[in-house]
Symmetry: C2
Subunit: 266 residues, 2 copies
């Protein structure tokens, strides 16, 4: 673990060094930021000359570290992250996955230190909003402020959805819920809700769902066997969204009707 962290730090600093140099790729205007935040018509009144740093984060490196002083708020511009919470004994739990338009680091506002770490699942880019400048920014551009507030609210709604996913007792139902939720989030990002490309490995999914990674494999096979899914490595196609949702709803294996037969046969 220590090794990992050292490595990550190394990459981090490298990025930081790199990023101060190439100006055009590493900045973003206020209007573009408003667009990213998704404020409908957020551009209005947002024509200030402010520009915000865009930081590149290499795959596998940590964007921010649990316990470190919370200097920045990040908004994912491209790529994807997992946010993880490390227990005292070193065990890590994957709390959530984040991608475009997701806010990372807001938890740092509570105690001035980040409560979670964030690791890039692929080469990614984030917009950097210094906490110190945040209050002034919000004061100055109410449209940007309300857009940010909505994103925070979305994070909270999302957290509730995660709790809902975890509450499913049966493993296949948990996985189904996870996939349904994933599909919905992809649709929100303008991506196809049917063809998903998993950015994370099975172990991360298992960790996130509180299951053994072998169980993920088996449950996936089950869903495929029922004809609801097609899986090829990390490419995933939803064939029967209704069936998947039905499974997601089911408490403890009680999938209605004859679907059990199908499951048995497969």
């Amino acid at each position: 673990m220590a090794i990992v962290h050292c490595l990550d730090r190394g990459i981090d600093t490298h990025r930081l060094l790199c990023h101060s140099r190439c100006a055009d790729a590493s900045q973003i205007g206020l209007g573009e930021l408003a667009g990213l935040l998704g404020g409908a018509g957020g551009g209005a009144g947002c024509n200030g000359g402010d520009r915000f740093a865009v930081q590149r984060v290499a795959r596998g490196s940590t964007l921010l570290l649990q316990g470190a002083p919370a200097h920045n708020l990040y908004i994912v511009h491209s790529g994807s992250f997992k946010s993880i919470k490390t227990a005292e004994d070193g065990y890590e739990h994957v709390l959530a996955f984040a991608w475009r338009r997701d806010v990372i680091g807001y938890d740092g506002l509570y105690r001035e230190h980040y409560a979670f770490s964030a690791v890039a699942l692929e080469d990614s880019r984030v917009v950097v909003l210094p906490m110190s400048a945040l209050a002034a920014l919000r004061q100055q551009w109410p449209a940007l402020d309300s857009a940010l507030q909505r994103l925070i609210a979305r994070q909270i709604v999302h957290a509730g959805e995660i709790a809902e996913v975890m509450s499913a007792v049966a493993a296949d139902a948990r996985l189904a819920r996870f996939l349904v939720q994933l599909s919905a989030r992809m649709a929100e990002c303008g991506q196809s809700p049917r063809r998903l490309l998993l950015r994370m490995n099975r172990r991360d999914i298992a960790n996130h769902l509180g299951l053994a990674h072998e169980t993920i494999s088996r449950s996936l096979r089950l869903l495929v066997g029922r004809g609801w899914l097609r899986v090829a490595n990390r490419e995933l196609e939803i064939l029967d969204a209704a069936g998947l949702r039905r499974c997601a709803r089911s408490t403890r294996g009680a999938v209605d009707d004859g679907e059990r037969m199908l499951a048995r046969a497969a």
Copy 2:
């Protein structure tokens, strides 16, 4: 239990007497609000004449309903709530418990409709902040704004902690984590971290933790058998916080050393 009821009754009657008559009991000044929000020195610059409604919520009644238009933001003043998410099929999941200083309804900012419901676990009081007035309020009193932001951040941190609790595989570890977290939150409210009074029933806890309610009973007995806990109905005393934390850390029953013997013996 009996004690609780007496206490509640006391508050009740007081309320009933005051309720219709003295308007002052159902309002709160800006300074007091800042105090509730916990802004250190939040009183500074907060001497406006604004007053906020305090709403009473009877035990068992719903403060707000999932799907309803989100008109208000609430801050718990006294009492306690459970927030629940109702699935399409009517199944309800207990997402979290909330009490003094917790924010309820912020999720409504995302889609203008509440994403969760909130039900009072006992007779409670909340401060009502109309969403419509919120932006202006925040603009006008930055101290109040930042305090509110911190509370929101706390909600997010709390959501992460819940996910962490749920990630524990073993039932007794989940319960132990829940209790440790509960204890910490009670301490945050100025209550004793050792003597807890459960406001929710076993079924709600079970639902919240994704376990059968029988398992809660059994796991509680296990923790008591190990000498870490004392349980009498809903009154709960933590005898060995270190042991409890050790159990909370353990993955799948592997409590180190000789504690298993104790467990067996009990």
